[in-house]
Point group: C2
Chain length 144, copies 2
Amino acid sequence: MDALQKQVQQFGEACREAGLKLTHQRLEIFSELVRSPDHPSAEALHQRLRKKIPTLSLDTVYRTLATFARHGMITKVETVESQGRFEVTLAPHHHLICSRCNTIMDFQWPSMDETPLPETVKEWGRIDNRSVVAYGICKNCLGG
Amino acid sequence: MDALQKQVQQFGEACREAGLKLTHQRLEIFSELVRSPDHPSAEALHQRLRKKIPTLSLDTVYRTLATFARHGMITKVETVESQGRFEVTLAPHHHLICSRCNTIMDFQWPSMDETPLPETVKEWGRIDNRSVVAYGICKNCLGG
DNA sequence: GTAGCTGCAAAGTGTTTGCAGCTGA
DNA sequence: TCAGCTGCAAACACTTTGCAGCTAC
């Protein structure tokens, strides 16, 4: 069984646990997100899925993504753009955003994940997760 | 001369350098942002400024913020919400966001600022800036 | 005097919602 | 069967734009 199949199977279990019905649309939306390393927006996902499910409506994509996010199955990525971007919830990782073409790339930074936060932050409240967002220009856009 | 006055004076110089006209509206919008530690949205700024300048229009606030951001005088903060949030460009700092009440707090983390990024990131392209975004629940919302 | 800024109104874009019919468990 | 999901269309919220008059330089 390949990685995608495994993730889709886990998805089925997660739905059952969360009391969510496992519909065709939900399965396809999730699979597409697993296959998409580029953090697509709801609109982008809808475009891609229409080829496979022509009747799929954009508002279902929005609703489904919101549902998944509420159950922690996917994560809404923080960006400066107004459009939300989504990704499947995985191991802790960070984001590189190209200011020119707006692509988002993941990267790992284990030593950072283990560095304790400053004392002042602990006084603020409870931290659930944290990630680094780095802005710059990717090699493509630099013309390299 | 207090800190606010100083910052406003520097603002005047920054405008001249950038070739921007120093209008009443621009000055007030900038001063309000300097006075606002809570990273207000365009809408919020407009609300606050209306008391002082009743004729100020919301689209001028949007346009002005975009102009300031284009010239690096202010920064648009990355959040998961759809609304953009702004702050005056200052020393490097990071953000704590309360998932419950959506307030944004700044914090310093100098040791993190100096930690070099992983090698893989250097291959991606040029990094201009980076910051940590931490999500959690603030003490207020925890009921503490 | 003139380039550029502002206010107004209208349009755009991304997202959410109400409803009626459909469907997975 | 029936709670809950989907598609449709309409509403919404935030942001941008075209235009004519106004203002800082």
